[in-house]
Amino acid sequence: MVLTLRSIRAVMGTFFLFFIIFFANNTIGAVFSPKSFKLDNGLQVVVIENDRAPIVLQMLWYRVGAADEKPGESGLAHFVEHLLFKGTKTTKPGEFSRRIARIGGRDNAFTSYDFTAYFQQVASHELETIMRLEADRMQNLVLSDDVVLPERDVVLEERRSRTDNSPAAQLREQVRRALYLNHPYGRPVIGWKSEIENLTTEKALAFYRKHYAPNNAMLIIAGAVKLDQVRALAEKYYGSIPYRPVSPRVRPKEPPHYAHRRVELRNARVNLPAISRTYLSPSYSAGGKQYAYALEVLSLVLGGGNTSELYRRLVVERGIASTAGAWYGGDGLDYGEFGIYASPKAGIDIDQLEQALFEEFGAAIKRGFKKEDIERAKRLIIAQAVYARDGLRAGPNAFGRAFTQGQTISDVEAWPERIASVTPEQVNQAAHTVFEIKNSVTSVLLPGDGK
């Protein structure tokens, strides 16, 4: 899943994709031992007590993202995320971030298909300040054209930086469009340029009113805090915000896929070609979720690092690729994705590499994976649960994703156990079930004339 953030983000391209997929999923396994409660207005609150350093993190996750936009309004969820920094009845435009900065805090926000999330990290004695400010903009947003229109230009610049300046990013956008025949996961989170240009103050406010309600959100507080203190502050600042009915998330489903798709992008700026294939797959929440844990393990043994099948065969042994690997994005509320990729060594023909990639991929699946390799991959994934507890971000991220993407707190806590229980038979069976070519898009990035 692609995330877009409000602030400066240079992390683009494949690196970004990997950060999200590996880091995010792997950290879900941690045992964070959260405490949780619900306010009368429906706001879910999760507290992760951790007094290691005198700091606290607040995250507010809304169950709304790019896949909840109406056709023709792509980019609206992300645009609204930007606009939440533009002031309320009592806070002037930009004042939110200035106040956070004044107390030495960090703040930002990000949007994906299934969620929009806001966060601040501050010294723990400033918790009340950030809870007051965040609660305020859940209901009191004020927007006018004089702040909305320049911000729309900012988003267009963001799109240029992320996508329009990069042939590889343009190709990824086209791949999504081809992978989803009907579901809104096929649209770019940031939106199509022509549709961003037509977003307005009115559309933003309508979207905000429709989706920003306490009963559509999860508040997560992690750090040097106590449950009772958080409960009192949550009641005080969030508790008065009225419950409002929110429509269920009904999204168009994918029809059966009959045809394998192939997308090629040629651009004179491309010097190093690349080949990849993305399969529509089950996720942790949908489409045969019993496969998700096995796919997580599979992505590692197949292509998770220098010891994986694809890297070993294509880069080490055959020596035709400079890189090769696989990834699994199992977060989606409605669908997951599984991808394999390779880039040639200088001087190796891309057609030759393409043939080799699919040959090795097919052979690996047919052969099945060895118990010892699967055990090693599982240990590696499970250890991420320990690493995830080092720092404040991973727990809130995992619970926020779970809440907005169809999972529960206990799913998060049980993640390492479920990974541990994956058997070689399940891995091999998932591979045989999921990889149907008609459910996939093959994409090729090529040098040349794009006309």
């Binding site: 350093a53 971030s97 501050v122 320049p150």
Partner: protein, 442 residues
């Protein structure tokens, strides 16, 4: 922000040091029986050990002429086989114990990082020891990594930010080792031999330039033994490298590198201020007001918030061991690139002429003091801080002392330093894209 640091690393290949102050972490100096020192914070909140270390002054800047890329290539090869373990075996061992081991060559310094579960520390430290003391540099992994370097050289030609960073370094450090490509060139990468790699390691991985920071669930006594285990076999003294100081060149120059992309990427800057300068803290606060610190600064306000000219706009101080820069960065669509650039230059000029307000200075102080504890949330963050403090020659009481150093900066200091550091007439500007309203100077 963290992400901003990534960007800078990508653009300049220079590691930023750690400067902010904080609530006290209890720092101990551990000295092993062989005399190896580490700064250490004991922490048993998570069953992990994080060790960061640096060999000071032996980053890419010490790549021999014609062997550009050697430091980085060695860093990519240290976990590709060591001791009796060939590449695949070495990596499998690391995976089996889920240890995280990485090396990186910055412009000035060479660094490494190990994170391990406490239960697997024995093997983890042993693998680290092997990688530093007995890297194999077998032919097959060397050739494979060489191919990966070729591939990224080819790819970088199409990445605007990489082209920008390269041109910038070539321009402001013309004639100095800092101007040479730390990723190498096709010819230099091709010429690197196993002997070069071995010489690199044996002359640079030495105890006289070693800095270590450790955080985690380990006793002082055991840490002492581990320091000897990992670093005790390294030579005491290394070769000296005489990298001269350099004053940035190219004042007043503008260079446009044409690329057919919709958005122009711009870097501009001039000589900055070194970390050990007595005016450092004043400069840090002024820089924060001008273009630092996430979602608020003068540049952010003028370029992004008021006019929507950019998503990304900021400036920062970049102190190096042999030089110092102050740099601004922006990315704007071609049609408005000239406008963005003029506005930034006007702000630059205004800062040096009119300085900052008392309110801005006060806010910058509370930000700078208040944001420090955020670094202390993870073992990794603390270990990085421990190494950063030593690299900047700060005492272990620095964390306690820093707020008073920040608070001591007066408005007069700040404005004097703004005048001293920022000078619009000295700017060197590099643009990659197809900008309107910007032309190269002859």
């Amino acid at each position: 922000m963290i992400v901003r640091v990534c960007l800078l690393l990508a653009v300049l290949g220079i590691k930023l040091s750690v400067f902010t102050a904080a609530q006290a972490a209890d720092i101990k100096k551990v000295i092993s029986s062989k005399g190896i020192e580490a700064w250490f914070v004991q922490d048993s909140s998570v069953p992990l050990i994080a060790m960061n270390f640096v060999f000071r002054g032996v980053g890419s800047v010490t790549d021999p002429e014609g062997r550009e890329g050697l430091a980085k290539m060695s860093a990519a090869l240290l976990d590709e086989g060591a001791g009796e373990l060939q590449a695949a075996e070495f990596q499998k061992k690391l995976e089996e114990i889920a240890a995280r081991l990485s090396f990186s060559a910055g412009r000035d310094n060479y660094s490494g990082r190990l994170s391990t579960l406490v239960s697997e520390r024995d093997q983890a430290f042993n693998l680290l020891k092997l990688s530093l003391n007995r890297p194999r540099f077998d032919e097959r992994p060397v050739e494979r990594i060489r191919d990966q370097f070729y591939a990224s050289l080819i790819r970088n030609v199409e990445v605007p930010q990489r082209v920008l960073g390269r041109k910038w370094s070539e321009t402001v450090f013309a004639g100095h080792a800092y101007s040479r490509p730390s990723d190498g060139t096709k010819a230099s990468i091709a010429s690197i031999t196993k002997a070069d790699l071995n010489t690199f390691v044996s002359t640079r991985f030495t105890r006289d330039r070693l800095i270590v920071g450790v955080v985690g669930d380990i006793s002082e006594a055991e840490l002492g033994r581990r320091l000897d285990q990992v670093f005790g076999g390294l030579p005491k003294i290394g070769r000296t490298f005489n990298v001269p100081d350099v004053v940035p060149t190219g004042a007043g120059k503008t260079i446009v590198v044409k690329m057919s992309i919709p958005q122009s990427a711009i870097l501009l800057g001039h000589a900055g201020i070194k970390r050990e300068d007595p005016d450092w803290y004043a400069a840090l606060l002024v820089s924060r007001i001008f273009g630092g610190g996430g979602l608020s600064s003068r540049l952010y306000e003028e370029i992004r918030e008021k006019r929507g000219l950019a998503y990304s706009v900021y400036s920062y101080l970049n102190p190096m061991q042999k030089s110092a820069l102050v740099v601004g960065s922006v990315a704007t669509k071609n049609a408005r690139a000239g406008e963005s650039l003029s506005l930034i230059k006007a702000e630059w000029d205004q800062l040096s002429k009119k300085g900052v307000s008392a309110e801005e200075l006060r806010d910058a102080k509370t930000y700078t003091n208040g944001s420090f504890p955020l670094r202390l949330g993870s073992s990794r963050g603390i270990a990085e801080l421990l190494v950063g403090m030593q690299l900047s020659n700060l005492g272990e009481n620095y964390i306690k002392e820093r707020p008073s150093l920040i608070n001591a900066v007066t408005l007069d200091d700040a404005n004097r330093v703004a005048r001293r550091v920022y000078d619009v007439n000295k700017l060197t500007t590099v643009v990659v894209g197809d900008p309107e309203g910007v032309v190269s100077t002859p």
